[in-house]
Symmetry: none
DNA sequence: GTGGTCTAGACCACG
DNA sequence: GTGGTCTAGACCACT
């Protein structure tokens, strides 16, 4: 389900967070689904348990997953789109910088549009 | 010209790099233009000279600027878009992840499209 | 393994870079091998950690080594010879200049040929 | 006769030194020939006079040129191949490092041999 | 414990 | 005056 790139510059815990988000967004994980335990996950990903724990904490902090003591961790019922102003501004700024990078690599709006279309096809299934 | 956000999680030197890229892409800095000296820049940004130097070296590595010994630093003549496969793939993946984030924040394709249009208006001037 | 010449005109960090390249080329360091940590290396070479770090970063930029957060630095799996046109031209020009120097020192082609043979013997082992 | 690359990483004065050496080695400049004055040279190369002066000093230090007060500077009669042990060792070490670089760029002995042959053709004319 | 970033302050080569 | 290198010492994020 998840693939960790050991040598990526994005931290492993962040890769887990992002991977989970994507799985949920694409519907592979649905509200109420049970997540593998920290130990299981760390075993399958060949990753330090602390790292998985940190990822889960991050996800919980954003209300994306919930832990029920003794039962396990589950995808939260309402992944309420927070629309928090701060995070939104961060997103906007990231996108801005990404477009600058694209400009320097000779990647035009059409290409980005194409990438976008391709991505949203994967979501609407 | 450049604004540094102290508490940002993106390193200062990286902010300088990104800022310069944007200034060049927007045409505020043109090929052959002289950049402020390391010491000047460090004074105006209230940042350590080493930090500015690191940013300049990074920019030079990408062929975006060039330094002439004892004379100063200048915007390179042809920032030839390398179209390097590796960096391109990185960009693509960043965009992918950005769209995941957008999905969780309830930001749809239309909004992103709007941001994109706005950005490219700033370039074509 | 590495020897630093304090008074050399080539910077210390560059000497480290070159030394590591040689060790790898000769097979003393193989893909996947762990490099000494920045702190270790700085201790054994009697050099500032920042200097070692700079060398490691340079090596990483060329894809020769890779760092895993919190784990350490490793020799990259496939130091794919980029065959980048620019670096190749630089090499050629360096060699050209070296031959000029040789001419002035009375070193003829035969001597250079001999050096070359000796070097490649060290590699093919 | 000489071409200066403004943005090269090798200092301008060094480029002049190397260029003169090459001209002499190839026979374009012969013992006894008069060199352009510092002012002339600085004018034609569009370079700071101090820079040319430094190059001339360097060349004189190695006994390659000689200045006669009031008359000008001339190519020395006997560009005696000093065979100084120290410089020779430096050359050898430079060549060694060059071969390491070549190895990483995928440049084999044959290619280097070819470069060498080509160079020596230019000399023997 | 690992590397990454930053500061402060110093010296040097180049033009 | 310009950038390049180096040191010393500090804090932080990641595992």
């Amino acid at each position: 389900m998840l693939k960790i790139i050991e040598r990526s510059e994005t931290p492993i815990y962040e890769q887990i967070v992002q991977g989970m988000k994507e799985l949920i967004l694409k519907g592979a994980l649905r509200p109420g689904d049970k997540l593998p335990s920290v130990r299981e996950m760390s075993a399958t990903l060949l990753v330090n348990p602390n790292t998985v724990a940190k990822a889960y904490q991050e996800l919980e902090r954003y209300g994306i997953i919930q832990t029920s003591r003794g039962k396990g961790t589950f995808v939260a019922e309402s992944s309420a789109p927070g629309m928090e102003k701060e995070r939104l501004e961060k997103l906007r700024s990231s996108f801005h910088q990404l477009l600058v990078e694209a400009g320097f690599l000779g990647v035009g709006p059409e290409q980005i549009q194409a990438w976008m279309d391709e991505f949203h096809k994967g979501i609407k299934e």
